[in-house]
């Protein structure tokens, strides 16, 4: 328990976001009946790099966008095939926006939209490996504030669906997931574009101790996203486009506690019109399963 409290205190002092599905507690555990888990995850991304299409352009106004989210996430496992999850972010965001030829600083913070999901998994346990196919319907409820110049939420009810497969042996781990979000029109006629993409994790398990139930996972992540263009009234997101990122993941675990740190770096971006790069992204999370 002292490890958990220490980690939670450290993490609560940091600011960071992410909506990847391959998260410490959510995918790997708990897979036992009536199990539950909770985690705190910090995500941070942003950039002052300005793009037109996939070309970097001059940025004399110093336009930038940085977003930081602290996620509280939980999961309840009815049995290994049926789970329920929630994710609730606290968001801090700031940007310098071009308004009539002048760079204007705007910022906002507050609770974001609540995401509820029902991961359904079909497991196969075969000798020295276990794998599962999953389908996860999700809903994003507009609990975030949608007022102001730089609103936290567009106030819309959005619907997500993901298809996944993960496979694990004592030494290797792979995870592939297709994600899709249908974003509807919210308050003030704001609407983010629909999103779809793919996440791939390839992992290696270099160390494990049966005695202490602790170990290390190293992984490499590839992910690609397509974001449809938002409505002109949309004040919260970038212009849409395509993004491919990759980067390392480090996972440490001891008994029922798992820590995960992740860096994603954009290797290809093609924005609609002119927009800031999403920039590199950092994720740090710690989860505990009971």
């Amino acid at each position: 328990m002292k490890y958990i409290l220490t980690a939670l205190l450290i993490l609560s002092a940091i600011q960071i976001e992410n909506a990847n599905a391959d998260q410490p507690v959510m995918d790997m555990a708990p897979r036992w009946e009536k199990g539950y888990g909770i985690q705190i995850r910090q995500e941070y991304y942003g950039s002052s790099k300005l793009l037109e299409g996939n070309n970097k352009i001059d940025n004399p106004l110093g336009l930038e966008r940085f977003v930081s989210k602290t996620w509280l996430e939980g999961v309840y496992t009815f049995n290994r095939s049926v789970r329920a999850t929630f994710k609730l972010p606290f968001v801090y965001q700031r940007r310098i926006k071009n308004i009539n030829g002048t760079g204007v600083r705007q910022e906002n913070s507050g609770l974001g939209d609540l995401i509820l999901g029902v991961p359904l998994k079909h497991y196969r346990n075969k000798g020295a490996y276990t794998d599962n196919f999953g389908i996860t319907p999700s809903i994003r409820i507009p609990t975030g504030e949608s007022s102001g110049d730089f609103p936290i939420s567009d106030g819309s009810w959005d619907f997500g669906l993901s298809l996944s497969h993960s496979l694990e042996t004592p030494k290797y781990y792979t995870s592939v997931e297709l994600v899709y979000w249908k974003n509807t029109t919210g308050k003030r006629n704001m609407k983010a574009g629909d999103e779809y993409g793919i996440d791939i994790d390839l992992g290696y398990h270099p160390y494990h101790s049966d005695i202490t139930s602790s170990g290390i996972f190293t992984m490499w992540n590839f992910n690609a996203r397509h974001n449809g263009a938002p409505s002109e009234e949309n004040l919260t997101t970038f212009t849409g486009g395509e993004l491919v990122r990759t980067g390392p993941i480090l996972v440490l675990y001891r008994e029922n506690v798992m820590f995960r740190a992740e860096l994603q770096y954009p290797i290809y971006e093609d924005v609609d019109g002119i927009s800031n790069s999403r920039g590199p992204e950092v994720n740090i999370g710690i989860g505990v399963a009971f």
Binding site: T130, L167, T174, G197, H208, S213
Partner: protein, 140 residues
């Protein structure tokens, strides 16, 4: 939409290639180590007095197997003063060892039920009765 179809095709291709190849990789490596999971080689299983050993399909992740430990350690005949609350999980060989309290009524069916509730499938179990090794298979 064409991009989406491309992604889906990539996903299907990846799964079809990765799943069997990783599984085969480990099966082969265990063959090299003379450890077979299925069919079980009883000659590789050593059972100590006051213990039972269960071969469990797919128990390859310590963090994921916490539920098995949790469920087993709650059983009344588990000696939680030994191992980790009475349970040891060896993920390299998919083996669970439980410590049994002396002079208690041991019930292997409850052990199988707890492992299933923990998300895994037990294949076979061994324990000693009056000094003799006994093999028990789960029902079904």
């Amino acid at each position: 939409m064409s991009n989406f179809i491309t992604l889906f095709a990539a996903f299907a291709l990846f799964v079809s290639i990765a799943a069997p190849s990783y599984a085969q990789h480990d099966a082969h490596s265990h063959d090299h180590e003379n450890i077979e999971i299925k069919p079980v080689d009883t000659g590789n299983v050593e059972v100590m007095d006051g213990e039972a050993v269960i071969i469990v399909q797919g128990i390859v992740c310590s963090f994921c197997s916490q539920g098995v430990k949790k469920k087993l350690s709650k059983l009344p005949f588990i000696d939680d003063t030994r191992y980790s609350k009475g349970v040891k999980v060896e993920i390299e060989i998919q083996r669970v060892t439980i410590a049994i309290k002396p002079d208690t009524e041991f019930d292997m069916e409850q052990v199988f039920k707890s492992i299933k509730s923990g998300g895994y499938e037990p294949v076979v179990a061994y324990n000693k009765v009056a000094g003799d090794l006994v093999t028990v298979y789960p029902e079904g």
